[in-house]
Each structure stands twice: as C-alpha cells, then as structure tokens.
C-alpha cells in the first residue's frame, strides 16, 4: 500500500498510511515552537501576558500532536467532533472557578 493512502479493512475500520516526511516536518515544527517558548521565557514580560502567549503556543503544539501524531486528522469527522468537542467543553467548564478566583485577588481573603 503506497504512502498517503487509506483503505478499509475486513472489519470496516479505516487504515491509513502516512508519509515519514510529514512526521519529521511536524517534529521540526514542534521543536521550533519550543525554541520560541524558551526565548520568550527570558523576556521580562508581565506574567499574565506571558501566560496567554505561552498557553497559545502550547495549544498550537497540542493541536499538531493530536492531529498528526495521534492521527486525529485522519479519523472520520464524527469521531473528531464528538471527542474534541467533549474535551474542550469539559476543560472550559473548569474556568468557572476563575470568577471566584478573580474576586479573591481584588477583595482579599477574610482573616
């Protein structure tokens, strides 16, 4: 089976073939983004600003790993939507604590 092809096996499961060059390209991209993060780590930035920039770069890296290394890009669309939507919604639900956390920063804790 040549690289970059997909076939369906006897169980109805889609089997993919991947090109090595694609994986090496993603690996190089991830190393490049890491180098940018290390450079930013030595810039004297406001912690909140740095958090958002580093978090943004980490999300890009996570997306590359999920899409290419974990093969999510090559799964059927309904699997991508079901799994990723559930994960993103659950992670976003955790931010409900931030409203209370912000109140503590501005008002302080009762002694």
């Amino acid at each position: 089976m040549p690289d970059g092809m997909q076939t369906v096996n006897h169980e109805g499961v889609i089997v993919h073939e991947h090109k090595i060059g694609q994986f090496i390209g993603v690996w190089g991209g991830l190393l490049g983004l890491t180098a940018i993060e290390v450079y930013l780590g030595y810039q004297n930035m406001q912690p909140l600003k740095m958090l958002f920039i580093l978090l943004g770069l980490s999300i890009v890296k996570a997306a590359l790993i999920i899409l290419y290394f974990m093969h999510m890009k090559f799964e059927v669309r309904r699997m991508r939507y079901v799994l990723m939507t559930a994960l993103i919604v659950c992670l976003c639900l955790m931010t409900v604590f931030f409203a209370d956390a912000a109140r503590i920063i501005s008002l302080g804790v009762r002694q």
């Binding site: 991947h18 890491t34 290390v38 699997m79 994960l87 604590f97």
Partner: protein, 252 residues
C-alpha cells in the same frame, strides 16, 4: 465490541463501526479524555497560583531551563520514534516496530532520569511540598510543583512499562525487575526515588499478571493504542514545560 458484533450469529448484514475505528483505540481515547481533565485541573490550579502571587518563586536558572529543554527534546523525539513504530507495525514489519518502540522507551527513560536529577537538585536547595527557600509567603509552590510534575513523571514511567510489555512481552519482566533493584538500591534512603522505585516493582507485577494470564501476540492496533497513550504524555508536557518552568525562569 465491533469484533463481537461482526461475528455474532445473529448478525445478518455487515455493519461497519460507528467511528470507523477499532474499539481498543476508542477505549484509549476515552481514557485520554478523562486523564486530560485530571491534568487540566492541576494545570489550572498551578497557573492561577502563579498569576495571583506576585512573590511567586523563580527557582529555575539557566541549568534547569537547559535540562528541561533537553527533556522536551527527548519527549518530542520519542513521539517521532513512536509514530515510526506504528508505521512499521501497520506495514507488517514487527521487528522494525519493536526497534522503534525500544528507541521510544530509551528516550522516555532519559526523560525520567533527567527529571529525577532536576527534582534532586531542587530538594537539596530546600524545596519540600510545604515550604520553599525562595519565597516563604508562597508555601504552595512546592506542593503544586511536585504534584504536577510527579504525576507526569508517573505517567511517563507507566508509559515506558506499557511499551516494554508491547515490545518485549515476557522478556520485559526480568529486565523490569533488574531496573527496580538498581533504582531501589542505588538511590540513597533520603531520596524520594528510593521508595518511588517501587513503582517499577508494581509495574512488573501488573505486567506479569497480564502477560501470564492473558498472553497474546501484540499486533499493529496494539502498537497504535500504546502510541496514543505515549503521545498523550508528550502532549501534557507541552503545557507543563512553559507553564511551570518558563513562567518561573530566574532572569539574571
């Protein structure tokens, strides 16, 4: 699940699985989603602590950042060797897949060893889960740092054991027991890794139960499923490295 449905005598017509993928792979994805929430909660807690404390300690000097960068390189490279193992297994080249799996395990072990060196250095400087020598007003630094990075180190160790089971099967058990003895006897009793090494013994026991009570030849799907777990531990480090190390870099 899909296999059972396929071979059930009542099945009259062929029906492909809903997600057109193997049920083992789907099971691993569900585990990864639940584990993501565990790490998500820990990372949210750490990040909030970091942002809300202006006096947050900055203990990571150039040497720590260099070490953590090498650790990141190890994990990213191990993900590359892992996809190459999956590719070899998909092509039916199991000896090649085993070689790539061993390379992945070597890089993962290198990551754990470097992380242990990092932890030991910080402990010698006086960091404990309840206090740190850099900022007395932020006692939660040690607790959050050790919980987050320790949890990840445990996942990487379990990943190496898991890949060893897939690659070497029963041959892996004596190797794992030798590694356990070395890790246990060569670390001083004051080190957390002296007792932490027992994770390897626990792994050897669990692996023995699986390999002796349910022996099988692992195929391409098993390699791919183990790969999903391995990429997940790599993915989590992509958040821990910047949020824990780079957000607390000591700039001189």
């Amino acid at each position: 699940m899909a296999d059972v449905a396929m071979h059930h005598p009542a099945a009259q017509a062929f029906e492909p699985p809903l997600f057109r993928t193997n049920s083992k792979k789907l099971g691993m994805w569900l585990f990864i989603m639940s584990d993501s929430l565990t790490f998500g909660a820990l990372l949210f807690a750490y990040s909030y602590g970091r942002i809300s404390n202006p006096a947050w300690p900055m203990p990571f000097g150039a040497q720590s950042i260099l070490r953590a960068s090498i650790m990141t390189f190890f994990l990213l490279s191990s993900s590359l060797t892992m996809v190459l193992a999956v590719r070899s297994a998909t092509h039916g080249r199991m000896p090649g897949a085993v070689r790539w799996l061993l390379a992945t395990m070597a890089l993962g072990t290198g990551f754990v060893v470097l992380h242990a060196v990092e932890w030991t250095g910080l402990i010698h400087e006086g960091l404990t889960p309840f206090k740190n020598p850099w900022a007395a007003g932020v006692p939660q630094f040690g607790g959050t740092f050790f919980t987050l990075t320790g949890m990840h180190m445990l996942h990487v160790s379990m990943g190496v054991i898991y890949l060893g089971v897939v690659a070497l099967r029963k041959k892996w058990i004596p190797i794992l027991l030798v590694l356990w003895l070395l890790a246990w006897l060569l670390t001083p009793a004051s080190s957390p890794f002296h007792y932490g090494a027992h994770v390897l013994l626990l792994g050897a026991i669990v692996a023995s139960v699986i390999l002796y009570f349910k022996p099988k030849q692992y195929d391409a799907v098993d390699v791919e499923v183990s790969g999903l777990y391995w990429h997940f531990v790599d993915l989590v480090w992509m958040f821990i490295f910047p949020l824990v190390y780079l957000m607390s870099t000591r700039i001189t």
